[in-house]
């Protein structure tokens, strides 16, 4: 079981290495979205600081949903997914490997690039650190929840937008507490612990239920 898990994980990472540009695409999408907002809303420093947590989180949400579209689509189109359904391993484990690979390739880079975005919005150092740590806890939740949406919309026309539609509302709790933590850290004097606890609770719940729900959705979609 562990072997199949590692095999799937390794394959997905290998595929990404074959097309390294894929990883950068998501990163740059994030950076571009973050960077074009000021062109629309204006360059006032105080205002930018105030909206920064929201903008950065929404950009992360969007980048993560967009990347999701691909998580199963290729496997479905070329028949690999069918083969995964026909293995003697529990499907949940293979799915978990795929989600993990996906997060490593899209979520983690977002966390690492976030300081750049913070710079553009004039956030100070400690706020930037908070931003990174909530993103680190929050983005896996996004991947997990998003995977369910991706599995459900598999092979449907208009997949990309459709996933966003299903999944974005589900992301709202993460968005609210994620952005809330950053805003709180910016104000100072507020304990951040409750935010971290809540986000970690989301993560745990997602870890337990999401692979299983995704596997079930996949079975439905492939039929």
């Amino acid at each position: 079981m562990l072997k199949s898990f590692l095999a799937v994980l390794k394959r997905d990472l290998l595929l990404a290495m074959r097309r390294r540009s894929d990883i950068f695409t998501v990163l740059f999408f994030f950076i571009i979205v973050v960077s074009i907002f000021p062109l629309g809303v204006g360059f006032e420093k105080a205002m930018l600081q105030q909206i920064a947590p929201g903008i950065i989180w929404v950009a992360a949400l969007l980048a993560s949903t967009l990347a999701l579209e691909r998580i199963f689509a290729n496997d479905f189109a070329d028949g690999t997914l069918e083969q995964m359904l026909l293995t003697p391993q529990p499907l949940g484990v293979l799915v978990f490997a795929k989600i993990l690979a996906h997060w490593l390739l899209t979520g983690l880079p977002l966390v690492l690039i976030a300081p750049l975005a913070a710079l553009q919005y004039h956030l100070d150092f400690s706020t930037t650190l908070t931003m990174m740590s909530v993103l680190l806890i929050g983005t896996p939740v996004l991947s997990m929840v998003g995977a369910i949406g991706a599995a459900l919309t598999l092979g449907l026309r208009g997949g990309g937008v459709l996933i966003s539609l299903l999944v974005l509302p589900l992301y709202i709790p993460v968005l609210v507490y994620g952005a809330g933590a950053v805003a709180a850290s910016m104000q100072g004097g507020i304990s951040l612990q409750p935010y971290y606890l809540l986000l970690s609770a989301f993560l745990l719940l997602a870890l337990v239920f999401a692979p299983w729900a995704t596997a079930a959705s996949l079975r439905i979609s492939v039929e």
Partner: protein, 246 residues
């Protein structure tokens, strides 16, 4: 006597020529860049009082910022030439230029950020020139991303050439729009270049460094072009013969 330019438009005859040119450009690059920096660091103490020593970032900042912009034009030039004459070599040039251009853009942003932190106390501001530079980086990245997302070299070359062309057509519009987001106020817009009021020593240092950067870019682009040639033509007979000579 006329020079047969087309002779050098084939990779086979260009490859050895480039090999000869690279050291020349490299040496020029080192001499000019270091010379310019020397001038800037050691021949301008009277101009730069102790408080404004950060001003020395300008030498590399301006050089990289200029190269970033020029290389985009150069890249589009080669790409368009490729689309028109369907010469393999010019696509390879375009492709080689893009990476160096992106690096130069990144450098100008980086040095600019450090400058900003010292002089304005902020790493980043949404000043039109800086913003345009950032968008230029996005355009380079778009070109590179598209090229590397396509396996087939022929399709990759032509597709990214079209992209570069569209990009160049829109860049002035982008620059204009960022520069004067309010068209009502544009009539009064007069961006003067600070180059005119500059002290002679600094001017010399800047210009020498810029020349050095040009030479560096020539050298690096030629090197990358040679690599691309080898990579793409590894199966062809002239490459095999070339190595037999060595």
């Amino acid at each position: 006597m006329t020079i047969n330019w087309f002779k050098y438009s084939s990779p086979a005859s260009f490859y050895p020529l480039a090999g000869k040119l690279i050291p020349v450009f490299m040496v020029l690059a080192i001499v000019l860049t270091l010379g310019g920096l020397y001038w800037g660091f050691f021949q301008t103490p009277d101009v730069l009082s102790d408080q404004k020593q950060y001003y020395r970032i300008i030498f590399v900042h301006i050089a990289s910022a200029w190269m970033a912009m020029w290389l985009y034009v150069v890249m589009v030039f080669w790409a368009v030439l490729g689309l028109i004459f369907n010469t393999r070599l010019s696509y390879m040039f375009a492709c080689a230029t893009a990476v160096t251009g992106a690096i130069m853009t990144a450098l100008s942003l980086w040095t600019g950020a450090f400058w900003g932190q010292t002089s304005w106390g902020t790493w980043w501001d949404w000043d039109p020139r800086m913003t345009t530079q950032l968008i230029l980086l996005f355009l380079y990245m778009g070109y590179i991303a598209l090229h590397s997302a396509i396996d087939d070299n022929r399709r990759a070359d032509r597709a990214s050439a079209v992209l570069a062309m569209v990009g160049l057509a829109i860049v002035p519009v982008i620059y204009y729009s960022i520069n004067c987001p309010d068209p009502n106020a544009c009539a009064s817009l007069h961006q003067e270049s600070s180059m005119e009021r500059i002290e002679t020593n600094i001017f010399i240092a800047i210009m020498t460094t810029v020349a050095g950067f040009w030479m560096y870019c020539f050298a690096v682009i030629l090197m990358r072009t040679r690599n691309i040639i080898l990579q793409r033509e590894r199966k062809s007979s002239w490459v095999a013969r070339l190595e037999a000579l060595k």
